[in-house]
Symmetry: C2
Subunit: 204 residues, 2 copies
Amino acid sequence: MNDLTPQERRQQRTHQMILDTALELIKEQGIDKWSLRELARRIDYSPSGLYEYFDSKDDILNTLWQDIGSKFRTYLQSVSLDLPPEDYLLELGMAYVRFARDYPNYFIVGFSMVRSEMLSFEEARQQDPEPSFMILVRGVEKAIEAGVIRVEAGFDVFEISYTVWALVHGMGMLQATYLADFTVDFKEIDRAGLRSLLRGLLAT
Amino acid sequence: MNDLTPQERRQQRTHQMILDTALELIKEQGIDKWSLRELARRIDYSPSGLYEYFDSKDDILNTLWQDIGSKFRTYLQSVSLDLPPEDYLLELGMAYVRFARDYPNYFIVGFSMVRSEMLSFEEARQQDPEPSFMILVRGVEKAIEAGVIRVEAGFDVFEISYTVWALVHGMGMLQATYLADFTVDFKEIDRAGLRSLLRGLLAT
DNA sequence: TGTACATCAGTGAACGCGCGTTCACTGATGTAC
DNA sequence: TGTACATCAGTGAACGCGCGTTCACTGATGTAC
């Protein structure tokens, strides 16, 4: 069941503690401001001790990055594909915003730092772009095929996907930043807003 | 017409040059990374020379900040109040995104750093909140009064304003960050997307 | 117009700071017999 | 079970770096008579 030796378990625990503390520091001070020295102070290590577990500050950041990236994908994939196309899109959007609420700092930084490698929708159509965006695109495609969403010239699958994305992205961003201290529960508001957009996209 | 002495004009030019170069550096390196020393290097001054014009690095940042803030308000106020309520909302949203495109870095930082002083929609209703958000709120109010937008329990003026805001904010953010290198002209896509949301908000 | 002085715009060296990283080290833990 | 040795986890001092800011200074520009 657990085939690790005691010291391997200790190592793993320390490894994780470093990552957790780094995330904590990033939340408090921002991705650019936190320091290894402060992290070491918090876990009662000397700065040099961290190098037993990670090669560099960037190494910590990259590891954290990957962890969060896969968590994000989990959020999106947790939405059942069996839902009717409209509900599926709705829940996908809700999952997106939920992630923003749960990991605000990663959400902010993730999308401010990373740039798409594609340069146009045409490229995205050919190559395989950002997997999480494609989840959304496929959802929209399904809805179009089912005939519940209308397509126009110049406002096709990608444009519609972008619009839905923009709405949930904006909700996530606002809640993670400007409205972070708001004592309002946005869940139902977001649901109603998202529904409004989908209604506007409907085939009449 | 111009009642400044030559040295006053020189001073003003240098003052402005510092601000311009700071903005340039922020664009290139981010708000946290740029340094006074690099700025001085670019305009062929010694770092200490800058203190003739500004008290500190923060002083430069604050000045720049105010300049941009008033520019943002200009964008929103440039939309004619004489438009029919629906078009007014549409153009307001377009102006918002246009600002994000024109000053991406300020847009990003502006909304990541600043936090609302209000803590709920109730508070916002009573006190006088963020002036730029209020421009939007008044636009939505007008549309509701004119009967072109539907109100529901739990999805009233503020909730609707928030939703419209989220959509344009998301569009602005995506274009300023993740999609920054996209060679697509988003103007018409944004217009169609915004129109879709408004359509979904319509009284049926 | 020329001279003497005051102001101004800008310099260069120095300050203390916190940073990421390196490296020789040490005491504790684990392993072999 | 005890001993000798190897490995491991973590330390502490030091490195060079770039930073914002200060301060005594200087040469150029402006002012008064």
